[in-house]
C-alpha cells in the first residue's frame, strides 16, 4: 500500500499565521501613524472647546481641560456675535436647513429622472445632451458666478433663499445625472423590456421598477448633496443676504470677527457644530455610500 509510506505527522490543514509578522507591523504601524496625524487637529479642537479662556492662555493646546465647561458651546450656538446680531449659529443652522432640504429634494428628484431617461429611453440627440451636461461638471463654478447673479436678478430671486436653492439644484445636476445614468445603465436591460411588455410607461417603470431597486445610489446622491450644500460657502455668501446667511457663512463671520478678544473655545465649538451634520450623515450611511459608489462606477 502506498499510504503506509506517507508520514502521519507534519503539516496538516491550514498553515498557521504569525500575528506579529513584518507585513503586519508595517501595515498597522502606518495606519496608526496616519490616523494619529489626522485625528490630532480634531483632538485639539474638542479639548480647546471644552476649556475656559484662562486655561487656553496657558498655551498647552494638547492637554485635556482641567475644568470642563460647556459654556463655549452654548455661546457658539446662541450667543456669539456676527456683525449686527448676537444670537449665535442657531439662526445660520435654521437657514442652512431651509436651503438644504428643498435643494436636496429637487436636485435628486430631477437628476434621477434625467439619468433614467438618458439610460433607458434613448432619444435622438440624447448622447449629445448627456455630453453637454457632463461638460458642465468640468467648468469651475467661479466662471459662472456673474452670469448666475444676472439670471437670478432677472428672475427676481436674487438675495432670496429660493434663488440659492435654484443655484444648488442647477450646479448639482451634471454630477448627479452622471451618477444616476450610470447606475440605471448597469441594471439588466431585460427588466426594462419586461416592464414595457407588461404595459408600464415612462413613469410606471420609473416608480415601480427602477426606484425600489436603486436605494444605494439615492443614498450616494443624498450624501454628496448634503455635504456639498451644507459645506458651501461661496454661493451662500454671494446669492443671499445677512438675514438668511447659511451656517458656513455665519461661522466665518464669528471666527474672523476682528473686534474684541479672540474666543478660541467658542470658535472651536462653532466649527464643530457646523461640521456635525455631514459627519452624522457619513456615520449613519457610510456602508451604503461605498456600495452605491462602487455600483455606479462600474459601467460608463
Amino acid at each position: 500500500m502506498a499510504d503506509t509510506a506517507l508520514p502521519t505527522h507534519g503539516p496538516r490543514g491550514p498553515k498557521p499565521k504569525r500575528a506579529l509578522s513584518r507585513t503586519n507591523i508595517i501595515v498597522y504601524g502606518t495606519l496608526i501613524v496616519v490616523s494619529l496625524y489626522y485625528l490630532l487637529p480634531l483632538w485639539v479642537m474638542v479639548m480647546t472647546s471644552l476649556k475656559g479662556m484662562p486655561e487656553i492662555r496657558l498655551g498647552n493646546i494638547f492637554a485635556p481641560p482641567v475644568e470642563i465647561t460647556f459654556e463655549p458651546w452654548a455661546r457658539a450656538w446662541s450667543g456669539a456675535c456676527t456683525g449686527i446680531n448676537c444670537d449665535g449659529l442657531s439662526r445660520g443652522f435654521g437657514n442652512s436647513v431651509q436651503i438644504l432640504l428643498p435643494s436636496l429634494a429637487l436636485s435628486v428628484a430631477i437628476a434621477s429622472v434625467n439619468g433614467y431617461a438618458l439610460a433607458n429611453w434613448k432619444f435622438k440627440g440624447s448622447e449629445v445632451f448627456f455630453t453637454i451636461l457632463i461638460l458642465g461638471a468640468f467648468i469651475p463654478y467661479q466662471v459662472m458666478l456673474y452670469p448666475m447673479v444676472i439670471i437670478l436678478r432677472e428672475l427676481g430671486l436674487y438675495g432670496n433663499l429660493w434663488g440659492l436653492v435654484l443655484v444648488h439644484t442647477v450646479f448639482g445636476m451634471p454630477i448627479l445625472t452622471l451618477l444616476f445614468r450610470n447606475y440605471f445603465a448597469g441594471m439588466p436591460e431585460e427588466l426594462f423590456k419586461a416592464a414595457r411588455v407588461d404595459g408600464a410607461g415612462f413613469w410606471g417603470i420609473y416608480f415601480r421598477i427602477m426606484l425600489p431597486m436603486s436605494l444605494p445610489i439615492f443614498v450616494v446622491a443624498m450624501i454628496l448633496q448634503v455635504t456639498g450644500i451644507w459645506n458651501d460657502f461661496l454661493f451662500g455668501v454671494i446669492f443671499t443676504k445677512p438675514e438668511i446667511y447659511p451656517m458656513t457663512v455665519q461661522l466665518n463671520n464669528i471666527v474672523n470677527s476682528v473686534q474684541g478678544v479672540k474666543e478660541y473655545n467658542v470658535n472651536m465649538a462653532a466649527t464643530l457644530l457646523t461640521g456635525l451634520v455631514p459627519l452624522v450623515i457619513y456615520f449613519v450611511s457610510g456602508k451604503l455610500f461605498v456600495r452605491g459608489i462602487a455600483a455606479g462606477a462600474v459601467k460608463g
Partner: protein
C-alpha cells in the same frame, strides 16, 4: 377571426443599426398555434427579430401583423404578446404574485379577475407554494416558471421566448424543455422561440427557421431541416457531430470523388433536371453503416480508423475517405481501435448533394 390566417406575419422587415443591416427584407408567416423556433449562431439576427415582433425595437422598414392587425407602430403591451427572457427579468422587489399581476394591474384588469388568472397560471406551472416569495428566494428553474407565468396570465395570442433555458444547467434545461412542450400542447398558443441550441430546436419546433446574417436560410419542419437541408450552411449547422462533406463531381447520375464513385439512385433531386458539375456530397455520421448492415448498403467501401471517441451511448470514429475526414457514429458497444480497417456503407438516398458553387441543394 379567420382561423386559417397566419397568427404572425412579417413582411419585408428591415432593421439597421447605423450602417449595419441586421435584418434584410425578411418575410415570415407563422401559423395559428404553431411552435416556431428561430435558430442560428450568435449575431444572426434571431433575437433582434424577436424584439421587433415584440415591439421593443423600432423597425427600419417593413410591416408586422399579429392576428390580422398591423402592429408595426404599436406599443409592446398592445400587441397581444407575452415575452420570456433569458435572464428571467423578474422584478426583484415584488413577490411572485406581484410579478404575475404587474401587467394586469397596468392594464387595469379588475381585482377578482387578476386573482383568478394568477391562480390559474400558478396551477398550470405548479408554482402555487411560491406565490408569496420574492424572486431572490427562488431557484433558477422556479424563476423561469414565474417568468413563463407572467406571460401566461396576460392571456395573449403569441408567446415570445428569448433563449429561456440558456441560463439553466443541463438537467434542468432538459426537464423544462419537456414542460414547455407539454405547455404548448395544453395551451395551443402560437409560440416563437429563439435559441442557439439545436436540440431544443429539433425537439420543440413544429417548424424551424434557420437564420444567418439577417436572412432565413431555411424554413421547414425539423425533419426537413435535418434530412433535406436546402443548402450547405444548414446541413453543416444542424447535427452534432456535423455532417461529412466530400468534394467531387456530379455527372447527372453518379457522384465521383477520387476513386470513390457513388451512383445517386433513389436520391430525390430538388429539381427535375439535375445539373452536372462540381458538387459536394453530405453524409451524416449516423447514416454511415457498419457491421452486417454494410452488405445491404448500395455503396460500400473500407476505411482505416484514425481515432475513436467513446461518448457512452455512441462511439464516434474518425477515418479518411476520398481525401477528406469522415466521422462515423457507431453503437456504444462497438469494438473499434485506431488502425482497424473498417468496412462501411451508406445509402445515397439519405445523403445530400450540393452545388459546389451556389452551395444550394441539387
Amino acid at each position: 377571426m379567420n382561423m386559417h390566417a397566419p397568427s404572425v406575419r412579417i413582411r419585408d422587415l428591415d432593421l439597421q443599426f447605423g450602417d449595419v443591416k441586421v435584418l434584410k427584407s425578411l418575410s415570415l408567416d407563422i401559423r395559428q398555434g404553431e411552435f416556431l423556433v428561430l435558430l442560428g449562431s450568435s449575431g444572426c439576427g434571431k433575437s433582434t427579430l424577436l424584439n421587433c415582433i415584440a415591439g421593443l425595437l423600432e423597425v427600419t422598414d417593413g410591416q408586422i401583423f399579429i392576428q390580422d392587425q398591423n402592429v408595426t407602430w404599436k406599443e409592446p403591451s398592445e400587441r397581444g404578446i407575452g415575452m420570456v427572457f433569458q435572464s428571467y427579468a423578474l422584478y426583484p422587489q415584488m413577490t411572485v404574485e406581484g410579478n404575475l399581476s404587474f401587467g394586469l394591474k397596468n392594464a387595469r384588469v379588475p381585482k377578482a379577475e387578476i386573482a383568478a388568472r394568477v391562480a390559474r397560471a400558478a396551477e398550470i406551472l405548479q408554482i402555487e407554494p411560491l406565490l408569496k416569495r420574492k424572486p431572490g428566494a427562488l431557484s433558477g428553474g422556479q424563476r423561469q416558471r414565474v417568468a413563463i407565468g407572467r406571460a401566461l396570465v396576460r392571456d395573449v395570442d403569441v408567446f415570445l421566448f428569448d433563449e429561456p433555458l440558456s441560463n439553466l444547467d443541463a438537467k434542468l434545461r432538459a426537464d423544462l424543455r419537456v414542460e414547455l412542450k407539454r405547455l404548448h400542447q395544453q395551451l395551443k398558443n402560437t409560440m416563437i422561440y429563439v435559441t442557439h441550441d439545436q436540440v431544443e430546436a429539433m425537439t420543440l419546433a413544429d417548424r424551424i427557421a434557420i437564420m444567418r446574417g439577417g436572412v432565413i436560410m431555411q424554413l421547414g419542419t425539423p425533419d426537413e431541416i435535418y434530412n433535406r437541408p436546402q443548402n450547405r450552411y444548414v446541413a453543416d449547422f444542424i447535427g452534432s457531430p456535423s455532417m461529412n462533406f466530400i468534394d467531387g463531381r456530379f455527372d447527372g447520375e453518379t457522384f465521383v470523388a477520387g476513386d470513390l464513385a457513388i451512383p445517386m439512385q433513389g436520391y430525390r433531386f430538388s429539381s427535375e433536371s439535375a445539373r452536372a458539375g462540381q458538387a459536394t456530397i453530405g453524409i451524416r455520421p449516423e447514416h454511415v453503416v457498419t457491421g452486417e448492415l454494410v452488405e445491404r448498403a448500395p455503396v460500400q467501401t473500407t476505411v482505416t480508423v484514425n481515432l475513436v471517441e467513446p461518448t457512452g451511448p455512441d462511439t464516434l470514429v474518425y477515418a479518411d475517405l476520398a481525401g477528406g475526414p469522415l466521422r462515423i457514429r457507431m453503437d456504444g458497444h462497438a469494438q473499434v481501435r485506431a488502425g482497424d480497417v473498417l468496412p462501411i456503407g451508406f445509402e445515397p438516398s439519405r445523403a445530400s448533394l450540393f452545388d459546389a458553387e451556389t452551395e444550394e441543394r441539387i
